[in-house]
Symmetry: C2
């Protein structure tokens, strides 16, 4: 479709929200998404192609892009930056395709700031505080202190909800239903009146 | 559910949008809606009960309520007013139930003004200008002048889209799919983060 613009859907959530599994399932049921090429400061390996495998840029350039609000989200790994450029997102959105980004809770507010209406951020949470604690304890590999710390951090992150567009409950054992809920949001957002300019111009010419 | 508030969904659309059929189908697939009792200035008939059949109020009171922004939408028939009171909508929304109102395009902007975030208005349209004209001509009962007038009015009403939240395409012969789209919007709106206060307070107590 060329009579629509794409949207960046950020899916985030505190520890215990189960966002990893849900986003994986969402990608299985929704594929109208563009392939986003990441930028990195690491050297290309043999056979890798600039603009296909990655955009290879210098450390100075990457940091300058961050400073200028041109990097939607990034991480450092083994001394190198990896991230998603705003320009790459814009290229995909203009082609009519969406993007799905699974990132940390504070990152979700940041992407929204950089992209405005072109970004919809969604927070996943466990159904309630009791279930959240059960999930965090359920891993069974952490000390009591570590569990309490994660629980407190999760509750803290929930306060970021004011900077989010949607809150989706991920009921235990129902990640398929939860992915369906995300798809419901994606479909609804594409029906927003303020996104209809292209459609109206194409189909109701003056 | 008591951990959510209801929402008033206004469904509107110019002549030729097919809103009547679609709203009927929506009511068949979505019944989490409250029963709204209308207000009227006509006299009660034998067996009718105030607050059940209608709220029976005087003409002066009705007009005073209109003037004070307490009537969401109204019409006059046989010299009497019939309308939906804002207080009635608020009663239903607080119980967690939604309302679906099928009204004229300019009424949709008005209800939104009176209810703010508690109202989501949705405009239905034919897929394009050619199909719209075909539908309006299809009735086969009107003069050319009347058809042109309706066509122009429909295009004029489309400009009201700036005051609407959603635009939904009602493809010809696909009113079931269109009703599904409305249901998608209803479900998504209930996941809006700014509506989650009750849920968070109930399920994540401080």
């Amino acid at each position: 479709m060329t009579d629509r613009n794409g949207i960046v859907f950020v899916v985030s959530g505190p520890a215990g929200s189960g966002k990893g599994t849900v986003v994986e399932k969402l990608r299985q049921i929704y594929d109208d998404v563009g392939v986003s090429v990441s930028a990195t400061t690491r050297q290309p390996r043999p056979g890798e192609v600039h603009g296909k495998s990655y955009y290879y840029i210098s450390r100075e350039e990457f940091e300058s892009l961050i400073a200028n609000g041109q990097v939607l989200e990034y991480t450092q790994y083994n001394g190198n930056y990896y991230g998603t450029l705003k320009s790459e997102a814009e290229r995909i959105l203009e082609s009519g395709k969406d993007m799905i980004l699974e990132i940390e809770v504070d990152g979700g507010s940041q992407v929204k700031k950089l992209l405005g209406d072109n970004c919809i951020n969604i927070m996943l949470i466990a159904p309630d505080a009791v279930e959240l604690e059960r999930r965090l304890r359920g891993r069974g590999t952490e000390t009591e202190d570590a569990i309490i710390a994660r629980l407190n951090r999760s509750k803290e992150e929930l306060k970021e909800l004011v900077n989010y567009d949607y809150l989706v409950i991920n009921e235990t054992g129902k990640s398929d239903e939860c992915a369906d809920r995300l798809l419901t949001i994606i479909k609804a957002e594409h029906m927003k009146a303020h996104r209809a300019d292209k459609y109206i111009k194409t189909n109701y010419p003056e």
